[in-house]
């Protein structure tokens, strides 16, 4: 059952990381000179959303 719980929990995090990557790549394509700054922001944003997915993973394992 726990595995299903993690699968449900990771949907949101997966969507969020996908959206962040989408935004970062389209921003870089439109404005290549902003690449470095956009990449930093992308890494930060995906670290936040990844943490949500990982919280689901750890809670599933512990409980």
């Amino acid at each position: 059952m726990g595995v299903i719980g993690y699968g449900l929990g990771v949907i949101g995090a997966g969507l969020a990381i996908g959206l962040a990557a989408f935004g970062a790549t389209s921003a870089m394509a439109r404005q290549p000179e902003i690449q470095g700054r956009a990449f930093t922001v992308f890494i930060l944003a995906s670290a936040f959303t990844e943490a949500l997915g990982l919280i689901g993973f750890v809670v599933t394992l512990i409980s």
Partner: protein, 265 residues
């Protein structure tokens, strides 16, 4: 396929191995495996910095001195100057200490057989609490205690609304250390669990081949090559995560300091 049947038991054992167990003494007073590697990381940190200070010259030579200097300048330019802004010099030592401490802890945990000091919730909670006290202290120092509490609500909101905004802001202030602690802990803990699971899968599939060599067993061991490749890829990802998490923690600490010291919202 009895390998898959045994997998869940093995993973349960792996997870139980990752909970804190005392190495010396007991849980109230003693060393767990995490606090032991925390001490190792602290000693490594001191040694690296001592060698760095001793070797530092006007023109840096060699990989080690240049590497450490690059990281220090990275924290200085990207985090301290970029996020904190004016008055960054006062906060730079704190930010750099947090960054290097977490970085060295994370990398020590990646050496096979060692555990990250930041993989226990106690350690990350302590780090987050120190950060919390630090930025609240500097906020109170800048605005005064009453002024800091007032500055939580944005200026220019009329009476009944600003009480609600203030309550929400206090909640978000109290949530900051919790999210800081949980983010770092979960990343380290989960990363090591995932690496451990793939290592277990690689050994489970290869086990029959090692016990008895036959064509059937050799065929059954083929998936373990794939698990091994995935394990290596995850290891590389973990190398990046170790750096990114140290960076994220430091940047968030810098953002919170900047918000606490800002002149009115």
């Amino acid at each position: 396929m009895d390998a898959f049947a045994r997998l869940s038991d093995e993973i349960q054992e792996l997870v139980s191995e990752f909970s804190s167990a005392p190495v010396v003494g007991n849980l109230t007073f003693g060393l767990t495996q995490y606090s032991f590697f925390l001490l190792v990381a602290a000693v490594v940190f001191c040694i690296i910095m001592a060698i760095f200070v001793k070797k530092q010259k006007l023109v840096p030579h060699g990989f080690f001195v240049n590497g450490v200097e690059y990281l220090v300048e990275y924290v200085e330019n990207d985090v301290a100057k970029g996020v904190v802004g004016t008055g960054w010099r006062k906060h730079f030592p704190f930010l750099a200490t947090i960054f290097f401490f977490i970085l060295i802890n994370n990398f020590i945990g990646l050496i096979p057989g060692m555990k990250p000091g930041t993989g226990a919730i106690g350690c990350t909670a302590a780090l987050a609490l120190v950060t919390f006290i630090y930025f609240v202290y500097y906020g109170c120092k800048k605005h005064g205690v009453i002024g800091y509490l007032k500055s939580l609500a944005p200026a220019g909101v009329s009476f009944p609304m600003n009480v609600f905004v203030w309550i929400i802001e206090v909640f978000s202030l109290l949530l900051r250390p919790i999210t800081l602690a949980i983010r770092l802990f979960c990343n380290m803990f989960a990363g090591h669990i995932v690496m451990g699971s793939f290592a277990i899968m690689a050994t489970l599939f290869a086990e029959p081949l090692l016990e008895h060599f036959s064509a059937m067993n050799a065929l059954g061991a083929l998936p373990s090559i794939a698990w091994l490749v995935i394990l290596l890829i995850i290891y590389v990802v973990e190398l990046i995560v170790a750096f990114v998490q140290a960076y994220v923690f430091t940047v968030l600490a810098a953002v919170y300091i900047q918000i606490a010291e800002a002149e009115g919202h």
